[in-house]
Symmetry: C2
Subunit: 226 residues, 2 copies
């Protein structure tokens, strides 16, 4: 497809990535990008504040969609809301396709872009942490556990995303579901995800563990005794 | 204590933080800091590359001490090594005292410093992740679990550190031990920390859970069936 037939935004992004990869991020100017995309400098600045901005389009919009999804979480479906919200990020990158992989190559080689990406990841994590802290406020160690869970969810998401970016997986969606199960296994509201987590002191004798488990699991269904 | 009696490095750090808090980070120049500390510009640049550097002294040295501690982890004491290494960071900040709290006020109000701090936290996390990935390489989902654990450890550490920085706790060390127990509860080599974590499908009947537990816990001691 010749450059000229794409919409302006896609032309700018594709021109920017091409020049960044060919000439390096620092050496590429906004004028270079505009010229390569066949548009004016003014057209560039109507869409982006800087050349960094071209590398991370849609970040704010994605954050706000995650916020919405989390705010709509139903009782006892909060683990699902967290997994769905994290899945939006994965789907966003997979939907982008090649530009997402080009960005990955750039952020791993240009420290300024790497720093910006890390700051973006931090924003996701803070958002998850804010909701989880609110939901777990009444639990013991609620805030601590919420922050650990938010970090776990983001790490699990990044693990799968990175594998997809490096072409190490053909089935990122299935890997993602599995990764979320692991990351959310300590979340008491994630009953619908199908796990029970039980922690015992290692000094507890097996019979006492068994007795306690029978008491806990007794009436049926899933409970967390964390 | 009059400024002049402190060693040069402490005078520079204290002058920088005083000016950053009074006049703002952007408005403060290296010349201002040197003058306020009663030293030359050259003396400043012998110790720091930039005014950002004054805010995060000792970061690289701390990273390298953590690296050393993790590299010396003994078999079946790896959970302990991780907790010890994270504890070094906490102890470093507590040892600093007031300057650590002044830095916290700065990093929460100056985006450039916040970005640099987030990048620094990312470096700790990558270091923990590197060792854990190596140690867990042969486990199923080892790399995923290692990355989740590294994120959990850093989040747990940051939770306690932040509480200390905000003067919300008088007992950061005890809170830290408790936070590490929670963060490391999914780590199979952390037997010495005294926990067993067991995950069952919620559809598993209580009797089958019990039977499986007896099999697992049978010979004595602690095992993870994650």
């Amino acid at each position: 497809v010749p450059q000229q037939e794409l919409p302006v935004t896609e032309r700018l992004v594709s021109a920017a990535f091409e020049l960044f990869e060919r000439n390096g991020f620092e050496a590429t100017t906004v004028d270079d990008i505009a010229q390569h995309a066949g548009v004016s400098r003014m057209t560039f600045f109507r869409r982006y504040r800087s050349k960094e901005d071209v590398v991370f389009p849609g970040h704010d919009e994605l954050l706000s969609r995650i916020d919405t999804r989390l705010s709509e979480a139903r009782p006892h479906r909060k683990g699902l809301a967290v997994a769905d919200a994290a899945r939006m990020v994965l789907d966003h990158y997979i939907g982008e396709g090649e530009p997402a992989r080009a960005r990955y190559r750039l952020t791993t080689s240009v420290p300024a872009l790497r720093a910006r990406e890390v700051a973006g990841i931090q924003q996701y994590q803070r958002l998850f942490s804010r909701y989880l802290t609110d939901w777990m406020a009444s639990e013991s160690d609620g805030e601590l556990r919420a922050q650990i869970l938010a970090a776990a969810v983001v790490a699990a998401h990044n693990h799968v995303l990175r594998r997809w970016l490096r072409r190490e997986t053909e089935a990122p969606e299935q890997e993602f579901d599995h990764a979320m199960d692991i990351a959310l296994s300590g979340f008491s509201d994630s009953a619908e995800r199908g796990s029970t987590v039980v922690v015992f002191s290692s000094s507890t004798a097996a019979e006492r563990v068994v007795a306690k488990l029978e008491r806990v699991l007794g009436p049926g269904g899933t409970k967390s005794v964390l």
